[in-house]
Amino acid sequence: MRRGFRQLTTSGWLLMALLLIATADTRAQNPLSASTAASFTVDLQVKLTVSATTLTFPNSDPDSVPQIPASEGPVTITANARNEGTNQIILSVQASDDLRSVLNVIPISALTWTATGTGFTGGTMSTSTARTAASWSTSGSYTGTMSFLLANSWNYPVGNYGTMLTYTLSTP
Protein backbone atom coordinates (compact mmCIF):
# COMPACT_ATOMS: atom_id res chain seq x y z
CA MET A 1 0.00 0.00 0.00
CA ARG A 2 2.76 2.47 0.98
CA ARG A 3 4.77 1.54 -2.11
CA GLY A 4 1.61 2.03 -4.32
CA PHE A 5 1.07 5.51 -2.77
CA ARG A 6 4.64 6.62 -3.59
CA GLN A 7 4.14 5.45 -7.16
CA LEU A 8 0.86 7.40 -7.42
CA THR A 9 2.44 10.51 -5.93
CA THR A 10 5.38 10.40 -8.33
CA SER A 11 3.09 9.95 -11.30
CA GLY A 12 0.97 12.77 -10.04
CA TRP A 13 3.94 15.14 -9.84
CA LEU A 14 4.96 14.24 -13.36
CA LEU A 15 1.46 14.81 -14.65
CA MET A 16 1.25 18.18 -12.88
CA ALA A 17 4.55 19.30 -14.40
CA LEU A 18 3.46 18.33 -17.89
CA LEU A 19 0.20 20.21 -17.47
CA LEU A 20 2.01 23.35 -16.27
CA ILE A 21 4.41 23.23 -19.22
CA ALA A 22 1.54 22.98 -21.66
CA THR A 23 -0.46 25.86 -20.11
CA ALA A 24 2.59 28.09 -19.61
CA ASP A 25 3.32 28.13 -23.39
CA THR A 26 -0.12 29.62 -24.30
CA ARG A 27 -0.27 32.41 -21.77
CA ALA A 28 1.92 35.10 -23.67
CA GLN A 29 3.09 35.61 -27.34
CA ASN A 30 6.24 37.61 -28.01
CA PRO A 31 6.33 38.96 -30.63
CA LEU A 32 2.64 39.43 -31.43
CA SER A 33 1.60 40.61 -34.92
CA ALA A 34 -1.58 41.79 -36.60
CA SER A 35 -1.95 42.91 -40.18
CA THR A 36 -4.11 44.56 -42.84
CA ALA A 37 -4.01 43.72 -46.55
CA ALA A 38 -3.61 46.72 -48.87
CA SER A 39 -4.56 46.81 -52.55
CA PHE A 40 -4.42 49.38 -55.33
CA THR A 41 -5.95 49.09 -58.79
CA VAL A 42 -4.42 50.98 -61.73
CA ASP A 43 -6.85 51.32 -64.63
CA LEU A 44 -6.22 52.05 -68.32
CA GLN A 45 -6.14 55.84 -68.59
CA VAL A 46 -5.03 58.61 -70.96
CA LYS A 47 -5.07 62.38 -70.57
CA LEU A 48 -4.03 64.93 -73.21
CA THR A 49 -3.19 68.61 -72.72
CA VAL A 50 -2.46 71.01 -75.59
CA SER A 51 -1.17 74.49 -74.77
CA ALA A 52 -2.90 76.31 -77.64
CA THR A 53 -6.43 76.09 -79.02
CA THR A 54 -5.57 78.19 -82.09
CA LEU A 55 -2.75 78.42 -84.61
CA THR A 56 -2.46 81.67 -86.55
CA PHE A 57 -0.32 82.16 -89.66
CA PRO A 58 -0.09 85.86 -90.64
CA ASN A 59 0.42 87.24 -94.12
CA SER A 60 4.13 87.32 -95.00
CA ASP A 61 6.48 88.06 -97.89
CA PRO A 62 7.19 84.66 -99.49
CA ASP A 63 10.68 85.84 -100.49
CA SER A 64 11.80 86.63 -96.95
CA VAL A 65 9.52 84.17 -95.10
CA PRO A 66 9.27 81.02 -97.20
CA GLN A 67 7.94 79.08 -94.17
CA ILE A 68 5.54 80.98 -91.91
CA PRO A 69 5.72 80.02 -88.21
CA ALA A 70 2.57 80.14 -86.11
CA SER A 71 2.18 83.37 -84.16
CA GLU A 72 1.53 81.35 -81.00
CA GLY A 73 4.97 79.77 -81.18
CA PRO A 74 5.61 76.10 -80.39
CA VAL A 75 2.65 74.18 -79.03
CA THR A 76 3.39 72.32 -75.80
CA ILE A 77 1.83 68.88 -75.58
CA THR A 78 1.55 66.81 -72.41
CA ALA A 79 0.48 63.20 -72.90
CA ASN A 80 -0.25 61.18 -69.75
CA ALA A 81 -1.08 57.51 -70.06
CA ARG A 82 -1.25 54.28 -68.11
CA ASN A 83 -1.16 50.99 -70.02
CA GLU A 84 -0.06 47.39 -69.53
CA GLY A 85 3.42 48.20 -70.72
CA THR A 86 3.24 46.20 -73.96
CA ASN A 87 0.80 48.04 -76.25
CA GLN A 88 1.81 51.36 -77.74
CA ILE A 89 0.52 54.73 -76.64
CA ILE A 90 -0.11 56.82 -79.74
CA LEU A 91 -0.62 60.56 -80.23
CA SER A 92 -1.96 61.35 -83.69
CA VAL A 93 -3.17 64.51 -85.42
CA GLN A 94 -5.42 65.00 -88.44
CA ALA A 95 -6.94 67.99 -90.23
CA SER A 96 -10.65 68.17 -91.00
CA ASP A 97 -10.05 69.88 -94.37
CA ASP A 98 -7.53 71.73 -96.48
CA LEU A 99 -7.04 75.38 -95.47
CA ARG A 100 -10.07 76.89 -97.08
CA SER A 101 -11.27 80.46 -97.83
CA VAL A 102 -14.66 80.25 -99.55
CA LEU A 103 -13.70 78.56 -102.82
CA ASN A 104 -9.94 79.00 -102.51
CA VAL A 105 -7.80 76.25 -101.04
CA ILE A 106 -4.30 75.96 -99.66
CA PRO A 107 -3.48 72.23 -99.59
CA ILE A 108 -3.14 71.00 -96.01
CA SER A 109 0.15 69.37 -96.99
CA ALA A 110 1.60 72.90 -96.86
CA LEU A 111 1.32 72.59 -93.05
CA THR A 112 4.22 70.75 -91.46
CA TRP A 113 5.73 70.52 -87.98
CA THR A 114 8.96 69.78 -86.21
CA ALA A 115 8.97 68.35 -82.70
CA THR A 116 11.03 68.12 -79.54
CA GLY A 117 10.67 65.74 -76.60
CA THR A 118 11.02 62.02 -76.05
CA GLY A 119 8.78 60.07 -78.41
CA PHE A 120 7.68 63.09 -80.44
CA THR A 121 8.26 63.21 -84.19
CA GLY A 122 7.84 65.73 -87.02
CA GLY A 123 5.48 65.33 -89.93
CA THR A 124 3.22 66.70 -92.63
CA MET A 125 -0.47 67.33 -92.03
CA SER A 126 -3.13 65.32 -93.81
CA THR A 127 -6.91 65.22 -94.07
CA SER A 128 -7.09 61.58 -95.10
CA THR A 129 -4.70 60.00 -92.60
CA ALA A 130 -4.16 60.56 -88.89
CA ARG A 131 -0.46 61.36 -88.70
CA THR A 132 1.58 60.06 -85.79
CA ALA A 133 2.90 62.93 -83.72
CA ALA A 134 4.33 60.80 -80.92
CA SER A 135 4.42 57.26 -79.54
CA TRP A 136 5.56 55.52 -76.37
CA SER A 137 5.55 51.95 -75.09
CA THR A 138 4.87 52.28 -71.38
CA SER A 139 2.98 54.27 -68.77
CA GLY A 140 4.20 57.75 -68.05
CA SER A 141 3.87 61.49 -68.44
CA TYR A 142 5.41 62.80 -71.65
CA THR A 143 5.89 66.45 -72.60
CA GLY A 144 7.10 67.83 -75.89
CA THR A 145 6.60 70.66 -78.35
CA MET A 146 5.30 70.90 -81.91
CA SER A 147 6.41 73.86 -84.03
CA PHE A 148 4.13 74.35 -87.01
CA LEU A 149 5.18 75.91 -90.33
CA LEU A 150 2.99 76.91 -93.26
CA ALA A 151 4.72 76.92 -96.63
CA ASN A 152 4.42 80.42 -98.11
CA SER A 153 3.82 81.16 -101.79
CA TRP A 154 3.11 83.99 -104.19
CA ASN A 155 0.48 81.71 -105.72
CA TYR A 156 -1.96 81.81 -102.77
CA PRO A 157 -5.13 83.78 -103.54
CA VAL A 158 -5.99 86.51 -101.07
CA GLY A 159 -8.30 85.35 -98.28
CA ASN A 160 -8.73 84.21 -94.68
CA TYR A 161 -8.18 80.46 -94.61
CA GLY A 162 -9.14 78.03 -91.87
CA THR A 163 -9.35 74.41 -90.84
CA MET A 164 -9.45 72.30 -87.65
CA LEU A 165 -6.87 69.90 -86.27
CA THR A 166 -7.86 67.00 -84.01
CA TYR A 167 -5.29 65.48 -81.66
CA THR A 168 -6.03 61.97 -80.41
CA LEU A 169 -4.16 60.25 -77.59
CA SER A 170 -4.99 56.56 -77.31
CA THR A 171 -3.85 53.20 -75.98
CA PRO A 172 -5.51 49.82 -76.34
Binding site: T10, W13, A17, A24, N30, A34, S35, V42, T138
Partner: protein
Protein backbone atom coordinates in the same frame (compact mmCIF):
# COMPACT_ATOMS: atom_id res chain seq x y z
CA UNK B 1 12.25 8.77 -4.38
CA UNK B 2 14.75 9.83 -6.98
CA UNK B 3 11.99 10.00 -9.56
CA UNK B 4 9.89 12.14 -7.27
CA UNK B 5 12.79 14.54 -6.78
CA UNK B 6 13.22 14.92 -10.52
CA UNK B 7 9.52 15.53 -10.98
CA UNK B 8 9.49 18.11 -8.20
CA UNK B 9 12.46 19.94 -9.73
CA UNK B 10 10.78 19.97 -13.14
CA UNK B 11 7.64 21.31 -11.59
CA UNK B 12 9.54 24.12 -9.85
CA UNK B 13 11.37 25.10 -13.08
CA UNK B 14 8.18 25.14 -15.06
CA UNK B 15 6.43 27.09 -12.33
CA UNK B 16 9.20 29.70 -12.35
CA UNK B 17 9.16 30.11 -16.14
CA UNK B 18 5.41 30.28 -16.28
CA UNK B 19 5.47 33.07 -13.71
CA UNK B 20 7.78 35.08 -16.11
CA UNK B 21 5.40 34.55 -19.09
CA UNK B 22 2.36 35.58 -17.14
CA UNK B 23 4.17 38.83 -16.12
CA UNK B 24 4.15 40.32 -19.71
CA UNK B 25 1.23 40.01 -22.08
CA UNK B 26 0.55 41.71 -25.44
CA UNK B 27 -2.82 42.38 -26.97
CA UNK B 28 -2.92 43.71 -30.55
CA UNK B 29 -5.67 44.05 -33.16
CA UNK B 30 -5.74 45.87 -36.52
CA UNK B 31 -8.93 46.75 -38.34
CA UNK B 32 -10.01 46.56 -41.09
CA UNK B 33 -8.34 43.36 -42.16
CA UNK B 34 -8.04 44.75 -45.67
CA UNK B 35 -8.49 48.01 -47.57
CA UNK B 36 -8.13 49.41 -51.06
CA UNK B 37 -6.45 52.64 -52.06
CA UNK B 38 -8.84 54.64 -54.26
CA UNK B 39 -7.96 55.39 -57.89
CA UNK B 40 -7.70 58.93 -59.25
CA UNK B 41 -6.15 61.32 -61.73
CA UNK B 42 -2.47 61.68 -60.80
CA UNK B 43 -2.59 65.34 -61.83
CA UNK B 44 -5.32 66.19 -59.32
CA UNK B 45 -4.53 63.45 -56.76
CA UNK B 46 -0.75 63.12 -56.49
CA UNK B 47 -1.38 60.88 -53.45
CA UNK B 48 -4.25 58.51 -52.77
CA UNK B 49 -5.35 58.04 -49.20
CA UNK B 50 -6.38 54.84 -47.43
CA UNK B 51 -9.37 54.54 -45.14
CA UNK B 52 -8.57 54.96 -41.46
CA UNK B 53 -6.85 51.87 -39.98
CA UNK B 54 -7.42 51.32 -36.27
CA UNK B 55 -4.67 49.77 -34.15
CA UNK B 56 -5.68 48.62 -30.64
CA UNK B 57 -3.03 47.46 -28.20
CA UNK B 58 -2.39 46.69 -24.52
CA UNK B 59 0.64 45.60 -22.54
CA UNK B 60 0.37 44.12 -19.09
CA UNK B 61 2.77 42.52 -16.66
CA UNK B 62 5.69 44.33 -18.22
CA UNK B 63 7.25 45.46 -14.95
CA UNK B 64 10.44 47.28 -15.95
CA UNK B 65 10.69 45.43 -19.27
CA UNK B 66 11.09 47.50 -22.47
CA UNK B 67 8.93 46.71 -25.48
CA UNK B 68 8.17 48.29 -28.84
CA UNK B 69 5.73 48.25 -31.74
CA UNK B 70 7.00 48.06 -35.30
CA UNK B 71 5.47 48.38 -38.77
CA UNK B 72 6.53 46.82 -42.05
CA UNK B 73 5.18 45.60 -45.36
CA UNK B 74 5.55 41.99 -46.41
CA UNK B 75 6.58 43.03 -49.95
CA UNK B 76 6.40 45.77 -52.55
CA UNK B 77 2.93 46.32 -53.98
CA UNK B 78 2.82 43.52 -56.51
CA UNK B 79 0.69 42.84 -59.57
CA UNK B 80 1.19 39.86 -61.89
CA UNK B 81 4.49 41.01 -63.31
CA UNK B 82 4.85 44.56 -62.07
CA UNK B 83 5.62 46.18 -58.74
CA UNK B 84 5.17 49.50 -57.07
CA UNK B 85 7.88 50.17 -54.47
CA UNK B 86 6.44 50.02 -50.99
CA UNK B 87 8.54 53.11 -50.23
CA UNK B 88 5.88 55.02 -52.19
CA UNK B 89 3.64 54.59 -49.14
CA UNK B 90 3.94 56.96 -46.17
CA UNK B 91 1.70 57.02 -43.14
CA UNK B 92 0.41 59.32 -40.45
CA UNK B 93 -0.55 57.97 -37.05
CA UNK B 94 -2.18 59.41 -33.95
CA UNK B 95 -0.12 59.56 -30.76
CA UNK B 96 1.62 57.76 -29.30
CA UNK B 97 2.38 55.93 -32.56
CA UNK B 98 4.91 57.66 -34.83
CA UNK B 99 4.28 58.65 -38.43
CA UNK B 100 6.67 57.69 -41.24
CA UNK B 101 7.77 58.93 -44.64
CA UNK B 102 8.32 55.60 -46.37
CA UNK B 103 7.18 52.06 -45.65
CA UNK B 104 9.78 49.28 -45.93
CA UNK B 105 9.85 45.50 -45.76
CA UNK B 106 11.92 45.77 -42.59
CA UNK B 107 10.52 46.62 -39.18
CA UNK B 108 10.38 50.31 -38.35
CA UNK B 109 9.72 51.16 -34.69
CA UNK B 110 6.69 53.34 -34.19
CA UNK B 111 6.39 53.06 -30.41
CA UNK B 112 8.93 52.27 -27.65
CA UNK B 113 7.95 52.01 -23.98
CA UNK B 114 8.92 50.48 -20.70
CA UNK B 115 6.28 49.07 -18.42
CA UNK B 116 2.59 48.48 -18.88
CA UNK B 117 0.27 50.20 -21.29
CA UNK B 118 -3.44 50.35 -20.73
CA UNK B 119 -5.80 49.49 -23.55
CA UNK B 120 -5.05 52.10 -26.23
CA UNK B 121 -6.24 52.86 -29.72
CA UNK B 122 -4.43 54.76 -32.45
CA UNK B 123 -5.46 55.42 -36.01
CA UNK B 124 -3.21 55.20 -39.03
CA UNK B 125 -3.77 56.57 -42.52
CA UNK B 126 -1.62 55.43 -45.44
CA UNK B 127 -0.78 57.62 -48.43
CA UNK B 128 0.35 56.11 -51.72
CA UNK B 129 2.08 58.23 -54.37
CA UNK B 130 -0.18 58.25 -57.44
CA UNK B 131 2.07 58.28 -60.52
CA UNK B 132 1.43 58.15 -64.25
CA UNK B 133 4.28 55.64 -64.54
CA UNK B 134 2.30 52.84 -62.88
CA UNK B 135 1.25 50.05 -65.23
CA UNK B 136 -2.30 48.76 -65.36
CA UNK B 137 -3.02 46.06 -62.79
CA UNK B 138 -4.18 45.31 -59.26
CA UNK B 139 -1.34 45.56 -56.74
CA UNK B 140 -1.28 43.95 -53.30
CA UNK B 141 0.78 43.87 -50.14
CA UNK B 142 0.22 43.26 -46.42
CA UNK B 143 1.08 45.77 -43.72
CA UNK B 144 2.11 44.14 -40.44
CA UNK B 145 2.13 45.68 -36.96
CA UNK B 146 4.22 43.80 -34.33
CA UNK B 147 4.51 44.15 -30.57
CA UNK B 148 7.66 42.62 -29.08
CA UNK B 149 10.18 42.81 -26.28
CA UNK B 150 13.74 41.53 -26.21
Amino acid sequence: MKLATIALAAFLVVLASSQDARAQSFTLTVTPSSFAFPSGDPDTMPEVQSPMVTVSYKVTGAGKTAWHMAIRATSDLTSVSDTIPVANIRWTATAPLASGIALTTSDQTILSRTGNMTQSTSTVIFYLKNLWTYKVGTYNTTIVFTLSSP
